[in-house]
Symmetry: D3
Subunit: 64 residues, 6 copies
Amino acid sequence: MPFVSIRILEGHTQKRKNEISRRVTEAISEVAELPMDKIWVVIEDVPGSDWFVGGEPTREPKRL
Amino acid sequence: MPFVSIRILEGHTQKRKNEISRRVTEAISEVAELPMDKIWVVIEDVPGSDWFVGGEPTREPKRL
Amino acid sequence: MPFVSIRILEGHTQKRKNEISRRVTEAISEVAELPMDKIWVVIEDVPGSDWFVGGEPTREPKRL
Amino acid sequence: MPFVSIRILEGHTQKRKNEISRRVTEAISEVAELPMDKIWVVIEDVPGSDWFVGGEPTREPKRL
Amino acid sequence: MPFVSIRILEGHTQKRKNEISRRVTEAISEVAELPMDKIWVVIEDVPGSDWFVGGEPTREPKRL
Amino acid sequence: MPFVSIRILEGHTQKRKNEISRRVTEAISEVAELPMDKIWVVIEDVPGSDWFVGGEPTREPKRL
């Protein structure tokens, strides 16, 4: 019954998102001994101009 | 003073969102004995390609 | 597949929480035409000393 | 290591967002005695049609 | 710079939480090509009496 | 109408929380030109054992 929210800078491909979600779901399923379909993962894209580190916007995903 | 966040697959009409929010607000107001205007509801649309169940994206709101 | 988070000042009884969650779930199920068991609701109790309105903590649930 | 999420009605300029984030980060850094770069702030724009107060959508940022 | 929130029914051991967080962090780091220390994971324990599926509280982690 | 959630390692005093919330509220009020009482701030304490950076728990607030 876990609910996972992943906030990440926008720009990652659907393929990467799929892979991240699959591996996150497998990890929780295996370690917590829960069926895969009880695990929900939501990926929330955040524009670099809305994510601030040290008070400064992070504009360029590449530099991270 | 409750704050309600509803993450839902995108695609529902404004009319449905209004109806959901109205009923959710009324329920909390009546049961918790709080004035309606102290209750905030935010609906957060999530694309099917960003919502994963069992590690798989849920693409088609219709099938849900 | 909606996920609902309700942040509310702590102090409400389990009976009230059950009633709120039941009515919220029914509202979403009926309006969005989704099966009840696809709707998850999490109630997150917040101490009055950690909830600030206008920069001031809200200590007394009764007064709300 | 604080993580700050600010949900706000959409429509504020980038300049305002930068200023808000800078001041929020400074406040936490000074009061909690943490280095600026350990503080992440995410601003999450919410359309007025998805933000409900008292069960009604808040459409016009200007009126707030 | 991803921020991951994992809401899970309370009752899992610290060892399990450590293992879940390690694997989730590795998955994101490898797939998104980000340094491990730019990834924050927060595990948020939820009592079964505050987590509702289909409008009913889920009291017993074992049964999940 | 902003809603601010601040996740922070537990252990900060109420006085610090009050000061952070006051300053965060003032900053948003002044920059976004919103009345103070339309701004809600919730501080969410996270135990160090539940907050992971680089896949490792952060146990000691002092070291941060």
